[in-house]
Amino acid sequence: MKLAIQLAYRNLMGAGLKTWLNVGILAFTFLLIVFYNGFMDGWNAQAMRDSVAYEFGEGHYYHKDYDPKDPFSIKDGHGIIQVDNLTNVVPILIRQGSVYPDGRMMPVLLKGIPAKQSILDLPTSYLQSDEETIPAIIGKRFAKASRIQEGDDVTIRWRDQNGSFDAVTIHIAKVFDCDVPTVDAGQIWLPLYPFRSLTGLDYQSSMFVINKEFDREQYPDWNYKSQEELLKPLKMVVDSKKAGGSIMYVLLLGIALLAIFDTQVLSIFRRQKEIGTYVSLGMTRSQVVKLFTVEGAMYSIMAVIAAIIVGVPLFYLISQSGITIPQSSQTTSLSISEVVYPKFTLSLIATMILLVVLAATMVSYLPSRKIAKMDPVQALKGKIQ
């Protein structure tokens, strides 16, 4: 094997331009595949990270009567959090209500959150205000849908726990830009403590978000949903995108492999005499087959090396600067940010190297098998057609 590798290496280096063309194409394909996967992984990671940062934290506890999927459960789904240490939780109180921007009525979810929390990345510091008007923050999607702008004063209306209507004018202190539609669309974030007293629900919460330090034991009135469970649907979508993309790189890889195959077939034809010579020098045919296979496979190894030389700085740059995604694609329900930072993991690259090398070895082996059937005498004469 060592001999085959040495020989193959020398043969390839000796072949010059032709080798570099093949290596170039394969390296390019390799880079593209790694890039695509890295992009998807980066997106995935980012979507997950953002979802965790803005919405999930380390997990959610829902009041046993509150089911986030069931709007009917909002009314009674709240209780007092019986946790020793509240520093590791962000309590959220959810109420249904309406907002009246410019005389139009829109149903909305009102969510109370402590202004001073630090578990979620929501800009809740804007919820601190000395003014009489209650400050509120909304996401850019809702701002757009409702045509409410930062700085606007709008009236919201809800019913308190006893059913009495209540309405106040709130001040939109901040329209925040985040990639997680589920903390944005159709909801208004309000400071928890005034919101609790407004709704007559002092000390009550519909749910709470925890951080890593939180002691995740059982709390009888609260149902726990881990971060992992919460992230599942997101993962599903990314998986589906990945599967779709794989077709593309199968085709791309196909082209690179075609280049190798093509080179192999012709080089076996052109190097008949060489093959004959190897045989006359005492190589077995299988050794010669191995030599040519290794030679083909070596394209892929050199391609990987070339790709690494080009790719490492390139991908490093890309993963630092990110890729700007056109604004429009953000309107989908998926969490996708303006800038996606591709994520290139070692396992991704290792898998891809394996894939490319194996595939290249395969296509090199196929034409090389022909050598085993060659008559060395004819080969020496260069007479095999």
């Binding site: 063309l21 593209l32 794989s246 077709i247 075609l258 080179t263 052109r270 260069g382």
Partner: protein
């Protein structure tokens, strides 16, 4: 001359078969990738067209201004006349009516008391009432968990999780309570004939699908519809055409100030699809350029090698008194023929494959964890046969190949006649 060369190509398998196969495979891959990229990048557009926007959408001005709230009270009226008008002016376009609505679903127990209730979003399409284009377009059958599509009045599909929650079986009847276009009470009984999976949690939690004619009856929308969607022939999006039609249509209502006048929105003008489409086009162009470049290099390589293999033959031909120029030209001509044959074969195979994908799709659900076929999250890959597929393969297949051959053929001039002879002896 051509006939003579063709004979050579066809008889000498070394001269023809391998290069043709390689050109064909390369061209096939090019065509497939082009079609696939077109398909995948068009997917967002297609998905949006299917469910949301059509290729063109007609709504009232007022509805448009409040689109986010699905204000059926601002729906189009006199739609029969409007539809007729549209069909007459644009007979090639498939004009379909759709209504979305909200409401409450109530399930009775044996005693006639309510056993369960839940809010629903209703989607209505021309399922059995129309020309049959909608069920196909929406691929509803693929997303059915169980049951069949509505065939008759008041039959509905229900999202499977919602049905689960309400403990409903096929054939069960549910009451619907909602509000009509005129904001009065809407009442109906629906029979569940199928369970459907949307793949989007919110939709799976509470959605029903019924025929648009049922929706009209229930919602008091006789001769009214929230939206009329237009789909271009074969459901193929054509940006230019959609703008043309929309502009033409809107001009005829230019004079009216009525806030309920119909306006037509081409797909790209709805939501933020415009920039999305632009970026999809850019992406697809870049991908194609990269790919064509790679493929061209491969086939160029093939061309080069093909030339190298034939020095001996050139020696013989020189010996027979052929001029170098003549050999070079015939060699090039041969490459052209091989290129054409390979490209045609590759294009045919590639286009067939893309056509297959376009018509039948490729199920990729196996490649995904936990994803089953659903309406909003397609598990089938699709592609699109576009006119350019038929010529794009010629760039690598013919031009790159011939150029590679021509370059390698320059060796004919470089070499001394004598050395060619010598190789002949060897």
């Amino acid at each position: 001359m051509i006939a003579f060369l063709l004979k050579g190509i066809l008889r000498d398998r070394n001269r023809s078969l391998l290069p043709i196969i390689i050109v064909a495979i390369g061209v096939m891959l090019t065509v497939m990738l082009t079609g696939y990229i077109k398909g995948i990048l068009g997917d967002v557009v297609r998905q949006s067209a299917r469910f949301e926007t059509g290729h063109m959408k007609v709504v009232t001005q007022a509805y448009f201004d409040n689109m986010a709230q699905l204000p059926n009270d601002l729906a189009l009226d006199e739609v029969a006349a409007l539809s007729q008008n549209l069909s007459e002016h644009y007979p090639d376009v498939d004009w379909v009516q759709r209504i979305k609505f909200g409401g409450l679903i109530d399930v009775l127990d044996d005693q006639g008391n309510s056993r369960g209730q839940g809010p629903v979003a209703g989607l209505s399409f021309e399922l059995y009432s129309g020309a049959g284009s909608e069920p196909k377009r929406l691929e509803l059958s693929n997303s059915l968990v169980e049951g069949v599509l509505p065939q008759a009045s008041n039959e509905i599909l229900m999202s499977y999780k919602f049905a689960d929650k309400l403990d409903l079986a096929l054939g069960d009847e549910v009451s619907y309570l909602g509000s009509t276009m005129n904001e009065s009470m809407a009442f109906s009984i629906f029979k569940i004939v199928g369970f459907i999976r949307f793949g989007v949690p919110q939709m799976d939690e509470g959605t029903i699908i019924c025929d648009v004619e049922d929706a009209k009856v229930i919602l008091d929308m006789d001769d009214a519809s929230s939206e009329i969607l237009g789909f271009l022939p074969k459901d193929r999006y054509d940006k230019k055409r959609s703008y043309e039609i929309a502009d033409q249509f809107n001009v005829s209502y230019q004079e009216t100030d009525d806030e309920f006048k119909p306006i037509m929105l081409p797909l790209a003008e709805q939501g933020e699809l415009k920039s999305l489409i632009a970026s999809a086009e850019n992406m697809s162009f870049i991908m194609m350029a990269i790919f064509l470049f790679a493929m061209s290099i491969v086939l160029w390589n093939t061309g080069l090698l093909a030339g190298l293999r034939r020095y001996k033959e050139f020696g013989i031909r020189l010996a027979l008194g052929e001029s170098k120029g003549h050999i070079y030209r015939s060699f090039t001509l041969e490459a052209v023929m091989v290129g054409i044959i390979g490209t045609v074969i590759g294009t045919l195979i590639g286009v067939s494959f893309i056509w297959y994908l376009q018509v039948y799709g490729l199920d990729i659900s196996g490649m995904m964890e936990q994803v089953e076929s659903s309406l909003m999250l397609p598990t089938r890959l699709t592609a699109q046969v576009t006119p350019e597929l038929f010529f794009i393969g010629f760039i690598p297949g013919l031009f790159a190949m011939v150029l590679g051959n021509m370059l390698s053929g320059i060796g004919i001039y470089k070499r001394e006649t004598a050395s060619l002879f010598k190789e002949l002896e060897a």
